[in-house]
């Protein structure tokens, strides 16, 4: 899996949001490389720019300056429709609010992703992977928050993406459920070799990452590497 070339290369990326007449810098010259198969945890207070970076990597937004490379592709040069195809073929997203389609069952929600992916995984297998094969026929309204988030994870990985981008995936969950969800993420990443980037403001979660990046005021303020990442179940919040 590992190769010499990084999966993501972020060069001097800045992002300025124009909010009416005020310009708000969200990112100020960020440099970063992410390798394939890595688990990266991004920590930082709200407004520090971590979500903005994730959106850049996921092809949901463009930087004001600098370049973002996914392997050999400069994402900043892609058109909207090319970005759509990029998201479709390479990226899996998991959000704080699970964003499931309420009118589709768990299994069907997973199938939403597999229907458009060029090389998808079996939706039922994915449901099993997140431990929901028994509840695959349930609608979101019949699932707990943790279960909904597991469906969202299954949906994200079912496309066989290279990267899984998670924005506060445990933000809306209690600690116990949160740990369960993180375990699933770690397990999925390990078993499928998917690169995992996870945003949180819960420092304890950093322990599960191969690398921890701290954000502050639009910049990376610290990067640490964990030689022995912990299992989420052993993390104390």
């Amino acid at each position: 899996m590992a190769s010499d070339q990084p999966l993501f290369r972020v060069d001097n990326v800045s992002k300025i949001y124009s909010m009416g007449e005020v310009e708000v810098p969200a990112l100020k010259g960020v440099d970063l490389e992410v390798d394939e198969g890595e688990i990266v945890v991004i920590l930082g207070p709200s407004g520090s720019g971590k979500s903005t970076l994730l959106h850049m990597l996921g092809g949901m937004d463009r930087p004001t300056a600098g370049t973002v490379h996914f392997r050999d592709t400069d994402l900043t040069t892609l058109s909207d429709s090319e970005l759509t195809m990029y998201r479709r073929n390479h990226i899996g997203f998991v959000f704080q609010f699970y964003n499931l389609v309420p009118s589709l069952t768990a299994l069907e929600n997973i199938a939403v992703a597999t229907e458009i992916a060029p090389n998808p995984r079996d939706p039922l297998e994915m449901a099993a992977l997140v431990g929901l094969e028994e509840r695959a026929d349930h609608f979101p309204s019949q699932l707990s928050g943790g279960e909904q988030q597991r469906v969202a994870i299954a949906r994200a990985v079912a496309k066989r993406p290279e990267v899984l981008l998670c924005d506060e995936p445990t933000g809306a969950l209690d600690a116990e459920t949160g740990v369960l969800v993180l375990s699933v993420l770690q397990q999925v990443s390990r078993e499928l070799g998917t690169t995992l980037m996870l945003i949180t403001h819960n420092a304890a979660i950093g322990e599960m990452g191969d690398r921890v990046i701290r954000f502050g005021s639009g910049k990376i303020v610290e990067q640490t590497t964990n030689q022995n990442p912990m299992e989420p179940t052993t993390i104390v919040w």
């Binding site: 937004d61 389609v101 309420p102 009118s103 589709l104 458009i116």
Partner: protein, 790 residues
């Protein structure tokens, strides 16, 4: 409150396309309402005013000949306020530029102007001078068409003498608002027919009617019993060869005019009610959804401490603002269209003043309806939201509860083949059936008014096609001044270019069956004739009557008779004959309510051997013009009707004005349809924005995402077509009933291509609305939508 008002303005700005669509829907509903009601009131007001100011008679009593002094006896009849006598004759006018005779009706008027029944309005010129010899007043419309004016000469053949008359005035009369010669005609033809007024003294000498009259006019006291007065008149005039007195309701011009007014009254209540109802319905639906999208904001205001009634007032203002703008726009459009409709009426009706004014009640009613329904929509939705505690409102809405739908449980094998998009759509439709029903209802109503708008040109087409291709199969119809023997037929046959001639005997009659009676024309036709089509409602030929009568269906309905029944026939041409005849069959005609008999039988009934009053001709088209000129020279000929000419007049007037009217109605229906489909799609976009944004993040293209949205809209619009077309057919049926009279009936026929057009237009607007929305789908801010909970 100031902050809320600012919010109001900004809300409006944000939803301007939606607000505009709502405003247009209201404007069209109100516009249709105001147009028809204003036109109706204008026409009715002008008629009523004209009749009162010019003393329109209540009863007409034509007769053979009576001394003028008879009026004094008639004045003693109870209820009779005023009796006047006059002389009335059919004449022929010789206009050199016409290739056919022009017929005229001469009426006598007092030598010295005084207030009379059916008084004249002098548009130009003056009254008679002295005894008025060789002076004539002519109908203004006729003079205008022929470029005649005061001082010009007019050649008139009266009493077999050609007289050169000098036009001294152009006049209008309340009994000729609709200038038409006979009941078989549909449209006024002032090129070939006019009314002429001569002074009494001059008329007496021309027609050898010294101190005599053949037409009595009666004015009744207010509230008098017209039927009793008519009976008394008939009895008193019996020995003078009465043709049967009739009341105003049976007077030809008034029948046409009142028929239109009654039809308009029906339309005035029906079409605008439908339009306004659809608009109100859509308005209700849209306002309700608009309010629902502001759920969190409402909760926030409540949390801050705003009272319920502050918030109710806020949304009420929004609704009232949209309602007012829509209503005002509609009123403006309505008044403008009404003015053009009144202009159209000038083509058909001659009034001294055709007025129309904007009725404050109409304006007020449209304002109230539009404000009421927009407020109801807003307040209805507010009720549900305002019941929530602020905390509930602020908390994200729980995921919508879905269940497996009936369809997937019972048709699993189909369901399994469906991709997620149709599954999403079908489940959400099933989950919110009421809302889907509301949307379907809105689209269905627009489809129904679209079909209704498309119907009327179809109907007129069919009416005219049936009348002129299947019923009137002749090229030319010749009418004689009076009854002729067989020789008249040979005179016609001898003319070069005449291919075939069929005689016709027209007898004015009063038909009676029990207490039902009807004045109409009884036409005698030759056995084996082919120029008068007698058809049933399936367009099959009905056999010629032998010993009895054939009635048009409308006449049979009026008299409450069926084939096999016997009715009493009273001849109204001065002969005073009454006979009984059986009904042999019924024919379907869209125009008139006539009766037919075999010509020999009819002749014998009126105690003649064989007489005719006219003929139908097939002619060589190349010879048609010369033939007209030759017919003009025959003194017996009173009128010549060319079918091609009637067709031309029809195309130039009625068809043209109908086309204009329909363009307006189709435009209104189109705007409403578009407004409904666009708003429906717009709302489902905002309701699904979160779902759709998730899909975009997953890597769905804009096209794929909007396909989900479009699928829902197409399904709903498609589903709406069935009830919509059904409803439209119902409206059409109602409209044909409203306009059904003994003068003409609109055929109740739904053409496949109109249905197809309705489908195309409704679905076309749905496509257009979805295309417009694709742009908005592209603008979905993925990051924002996914971050926020609402």
């Amino acid at each position: 409150m100031r902050v809320l008002d600012r919010k109001l303005v900004r809300n409006l700005r944000e939803m301007k396309s939606q607000a505009l669509a709502i405003v247009l829907i209201i404007a069209c509903g109100v516009g249709a309402f105001v147009t028809v009601l204003t036109a109706y009131r204008g026409l009715k007001g002008s008629r009523d005013d004209y009749y009162v100011r010019y003393r329109m008679a209540d009863i007409w009593a034509p007769l053979e000949r009576a001394p003028r002094r008879i009026t004094r006896d008639l004045e003693t009849i109870p209820g009779v306020r005023r009796v006047e006598s006059r002389i009335e004759f059919e004449v022929t006018i010789d206009l050199p530029e016409l290739d056919q005779p022009c017929s005229g009706r001469v009426l006598s008027a007092p030598d010295v102007r005084r207030r009379i029944l059916n008084d004249l309005h002098l548009a130009r010129g003056r009254w008679f001078e002295g005894d008025g010899t060789r002076e004539v007043l002519v109908a203004e419309r006729f003079a205008k068409i022929h470029g005649l004016d005061v001082g010009d000469r007019l050649m008139v053949i009266m009493n077999n003498k050609k007289e050169a008359l000098r036009i001294v005035g152009l006049a209008l009369s309340p009994e000729f608002v609709y200038l038409i010669r006979g009941a078989g005609q549909i449209l006024p033809d002032a090129r070939h027919f006019t009314v002429l007024w001569l002074s009494e003294t001059f008329a007496e000498s021309v027609f050898d009617f010294k101190d005599a009259c053949n037409s009595i006019l009666v004015g009744l006291d207010r509230g008098a019993d017209a039927a009793a007065a008519i009976d008394a008149l008939d009895e008193a005039l019996d020995r003078y060869g009465s043709f049967g007195a009739y009341e105003r309701a049976d007077q030809l011009s008034n029948r046409y005019l009142s028929n239109e007014i009654d039809g308009l009254k029906g339309t005035a209540t029906m079409i605008p009610t439908i339009f306004l109802g659809v608009a109100a319905f859509v308005l209700f639906m849209l306002m309700a959804r608009l309010v629902r999208t502001q759920r969190t904001q409402i909760a926030m205001f409540r949390a801050v401490g705003y009272r319920r009634r502050d918030l109710n007032a806020h949304f009420l203002k929004l609704a009232l603002l949209i309602g007012t703008v829509g209503a005002l726009l509609g009123i403006g459009m309505g008044v403008w269209f009404a003015a053009s409709m009144v202009e159209l009426y000038r083509e058909f009706y001659s009034f001294p003043v055709l007025k129309f004014d904007v009725d404050p009640i109409v304006v007020g009613a449209s304002l109230i309806v539009s404000l009421l329904f927009s407020s109801l929509g807003a307040l209805g939705a507010m009720r549900a939201i305002i019941r929530l505690t602020p905390a509930d409102g602020l908390r994200p809405e729980a995921p919508a509860i879905y269940r497996k739908i009936l369809f997937e449980r019972h048709a699993g094998f189909i369901w399994r083949r469906l991709s997620f998009a149709p599954r999403m759509v079908l489940r959400s439709i099933a989950r919110r059936k009421l809302r889907a029903a509301v949307t379907i209802g809105g689209v269905a109503m627009s489809a129904s008014i679209m079909l209704l708008a498309l119907f009327s040109p179809d109907s007129i087409d069919i009416l005219m096609d049936t009348q002129w291709r299947l019923v009137e199969r002749q090229d030319i119809k010749v009418t004689f001044h009076n009854e002729r023997g067989r020789a008249a037929l040979y005179d016609l046959k001898r003319l070069e270019g005449v291919r075939s001639v069929e005689p016709e005997l027209g007898v004015p009659v009063r038909l009676r069956h029990g207490r039902h009676e009807k004045r109409t024309g009884l036409t005698g036709l030759q056995p084996g004739q082919s120029l008068q089509g007698l058809i049933d409602n399936e367009l099959r030929t009905v056999a010629m009557p032998t010993d009895g009568l054939l009635l048009s269906r409308k006449l049979a309905d009026i008299l409450h008779v069926r084939p096999g029944d016997e009715i009493e026939v009273e001849v109204l041409n001065g002969r005073q004959q009454i006979f009984r005849a059986p009904i042999e069959n019924v024919v379907d005609e869209y125009i008139g309510a006539f009766a037919y008999a075999e010509i020999g039988r009819l002749s014998r009934w009126i105690q003649e051997e064989f007489v005719l009053t006219g003929a139908r001709l097939l002619v060589d088209p190349a010879r048609a013009r010369e033939l007209g000129r030759e017919l003009k020279e025959l003194p017996a000929v009173a009128a010549v009707d060319y079918k091609a000419q009637m067709l031309q007049i029809f195309r130039d007037t009625l068809a043209a004005s109908q086309a204009a009217m329909n363009a307006i109605v189709i435009l209104f229906a189109g705007i409403i349809t578009f407004g409904v489909t666009y708003n429906t799609a717009r709302i489902s976009l905002s309701e699904r924005s979160r779902e759709l944004a998730s899909m975009r993040v997953l890597g769905f293209t804009t096209r794929e995402v909007s396909a989900v949205l479009s699928l829902e809209n197409f399904l709903l619009s498609g589903a709406a077509l069935v009830p919509g077309i059904g409803l439209g057919i119902g409206f059409i049926w109602l409209l044909t009933k409203l306009y059904e009279t003994d003068l003409f009936r609109f055929p109740f026929i739904i053409r496949a291509d109109s249905v197809a057009w309705t489908v195309v237009i409704v679905m076309g607007f749905t496509v257009l609305a979805n295309l417009l929305l694709r742009r908005r789908t592209r603008e979905l801010d993925l990051v924002e939508v996914l971050k926020a909970r609402e």
